[in-house]
Each structure stands twice: as structure tokens, then as C-alpha cells.
Amino acid sequence: MSINPGFAPSFSLDGRQVPFTAGQTIIQAAAAAGIYIPHLCYRPELKPHGSCKLCTVKVNGRQASSCTLQAQAGMVVESDTDELNDERRALLQMLFVEGNHFCPSCEKSGDCKLQATACELGMTSPHYDHFFPSRPVDASHPDVLLDFNRCILCSLCVRASRDIDGKSVFALSGRGIGSRLIVNARSGRLGDTDFSAADKAASVCPVGVILPKRRGFAVPIGERTYDAAPISVVALREGE
């Protein structure tokens, strides 16, 4: 609701006035205004999930997920502060130690949102002790393979498969640190589903879990997505 009829309502983000339309979340309004808020589990075309917590901002002094909180006129929002970026770095470090993120041999290196966000926020070390999970690779599908040890449980593939492809191939299962990505087939294998490499779900993984077979290291170093520009620039340009 606008205070001044005829003018778009707005809120303040790191001191800048950001206009919004009714129903827009903070992260949507910020992106439309050309302001990047770090995120991993949010994609504009899918329902928000609120699991990665990287888009956490302070709204009137209290922390909130900017991907789920709708903008209100007059809000005072902080995002690019030392305190919030320190917390984002800690969240990234947790994601790195919970999985096996061996970037030197990962096909997604240079195109990976987790990696690019860690570079953007200046993460030099994982800080915490490593979990070294041991989850078997699923190579049963003719065109796509799954390496679950890199999964950050963002559920983008779950949402894309359910809401866009209409197939519900993936799901999150288990509790606590036992939570994991599963394939909805009696056998639990991707090869026993109607999943296709052309599905939306095949292309939304922000990390190196869902990978096409027989195509590896095809893009020269220097020409990968985040070689030329940091994710703060690419995300706004690509509308992701």
C-alpha cells in the first residue's frame, strides 16, 4: 500500500530507495532495481524455498529471508553489511564441509553458484571440520548422472520437476544431517524414471549434482560462466 497515491511504494535497502509492486518479495524488488542479494535456493520462476539462508537480510533490525518476505512500504532493509556477509560466509563454509566439494575435479567448476558465491564473498577456507559424506553416484540414466555428495538440498530440481516438468522425479527425504535428495522410483534409480535431459529439472542444479553424461570440461578455463564476471553481475544479467 502506497503512502503517496500515484507513486510506487518503496523500501530502503542499504540506504537506497527500492520501488516494488504489491506482492513482490524483497529479493525480487532488489533484483528489479539492479541490486544483488546472495542466494542459492532461489530462482525467480520457482516458488521460494528458504533453505540456503544466504539471502538473509535485516528488516527493521530483525533477520528475515528476503526470498520469502514480501516488501512493505517504508521497510528499512540491510543486506551488504559486514555482519550479514560474515554470516553468509559461515553458511557457505557449512555447505562446503557437509559435502565433498572437490572443485579441482568437478565438471561444474567455473559454472557453479556455490563456488561463485564463495568467491564473491571472499571465502578462503572451509573453517569447520569436514563431514566427508559417502553417497553412491547414480549413473543409471542413459544421459544424466547424479553425484549426491555435492547436493546442497536447495530443492530446485524437486520444484522444477514437480511444478514445471510435471514429473516429480526428485524429493528430499530423511531428517537432520541424514536429509538427502532421492529419486522417486521404486528402485531409487534415475534410470527407472521418465526423467529426460531436456527437462527443466536437468538444468537448474546450482552445483555439480545433476550432470549430463559424455560432456565434460567442454568449456575452456577463462570462458566459463563466472570466469569473466562475478556472480553478483551474472545473476542480475541472467535474471537468476
Binding site: F102, C106, S109, G122, S125, P126, H127, H130, F132
Partner: protein, 186 residues
């Protein structure tokens, strides 16, 4: 008047479960090595013949590549921590175990069995058991899980420019800072 020669910084380096690639990337600073040698001297390092770190006095900087895969790695790392004021973990292996930590999926006995005994083409193979050989750890570990690390330089390997940036920052007494472009994990 001749100023008294400045005391040079003492730098020790070692490779634990590393591939020596981080040392090669250090050498990739090329002619800058001559500038470096005016201000640092090397203690124990694969570049020198000194056998024990800090034997001739404490070191200012210790640079360690590679993770921890066996008992000797742990002993050397502890000696580096004891004798170096600033300890740098260099490269993916030192920082998160790196690609060698992919063996953490497997049971150590099964790996040794496959490589030394049961593997294809081995005649009368036996798993080496001489006490002179360091026992492997059941898992590969990053350095920071055993000693305190002061500075991390990620990359596999880090670029020469990243290594140069950290060394020149430390020599100048600045906190090391890797800007965008120098920070990489692959």
C-alpha cells in the same frame, strides 16, 4: 654510509600429501623469485637441503601444501606449527583434503589390498609392512583439523599471482588479502 643488511624473513616450505604442484606454482612467480630472495631466506624446503624445520632458529613463515594422509605428515605438520610464526595452508589439499580425500569413500585396508596384493598384474604382492614406512591414516584430513592455520591460499594450485600477493602482504606486514580473480578453488 652503508646501512646494515636487513635481516631476511625465514621461510620454510613442505609438501605433505601434496603433488608438489603448489611448489611449482610458487616457482611460477618467475623472475620475481630474485626479488623474493633479497628479502627471504629458505629454511627446510624441497628447494633446500635443510633436514629439520627451525633447526637454525624460528621461522617467520611456514608454507604447507598437501593434506594429511599418513603419520609422518602429522609429525612434520606439528614441527612446522611449532617452529613457524605464521603457518600457511596452500592449495586445495591442505585446505579440504583435496582430490586425495576422495579415498575417504573407501576402506583403507581394501585400498592397500587392491594396490599391493590383489590388483591385476601383481605377482606375490604383499602390503608393505616395514616400520620405516609411515602408516597411512584411515582418512585424509585437511591441515586445520590438526593444527591452527593462520592463512589459507585456495586453488589447485593457487596462481603464482595469488601466492605473490600473500607473500608480499605478509612481508609488508599487511593482513593477506586475495581479491576477486586471485581467489579460486580449482
Amino acid at each position: 654510509m652503508n646501512a646494515p643488511p636487513k635481516k631476511r624473513l625465514k621461510v620454510a616450505t613442505t609438501s605433505l600429501a601434496g603433488c608438489f604442484g603448489c611448489h611449482m606454482s610458487l616457482l611460477d612467480i618467475d623472475e620475481r623469485l630474485f626479488d623474493l630472495l633479497k628479502i627471504v631466506e629458505f629454511d627446510r624446503s624441497p628447494f633446500t637441503d635443510i633436514k629439520a624445520v627451525g633447526a637454525a632458529g624460528p621461522c617467520d613463515v611456514g608454507i604447507v601444501e598437501g593434506g594429511l594422509c599418513n603419520a609422518e605428515n602429522v609429525q612434520v605438520l606439528r614441527e612446522f606449527r611449532q617452529h613457524c610464526k605464521v603457518l600457511i595452508a596452500i592449495g586445495a589439499c591442505a585446505i579440504n583434503g583435496g582430490l586425495p580425500a576422495q579415498r575417504n569413500h573407501l576402506e583403507l585396508g581394501a585400498i592397500l589390498e587392491e594396490v599391493y596384493h590383489a590388483g591385476h598384474g601383481l605377482a606375490n604382492g604383499t602390503i608393505p609392512n616395514d616400520p620405516e614406512l609411515p602408516l597411512p591414516l584411515d582418512r585424509v584430513h585437511p591441515l586445520h583439523e590438526v593444527v591452527r592455520i593462520d592463512v589459507f591460499i585456495p586453488g589447485c594450485p593457487p596462481s603464482a599471482d595469488a601466492i605473490w600477493q600473500v607473500l608480499t602482504d605478509l612481508i609488508a606486514g599487511r593482513p593477506p588479502r586475495l581479491g576477486y580473480g586471485l581467489l579460486q578453488y580449482d
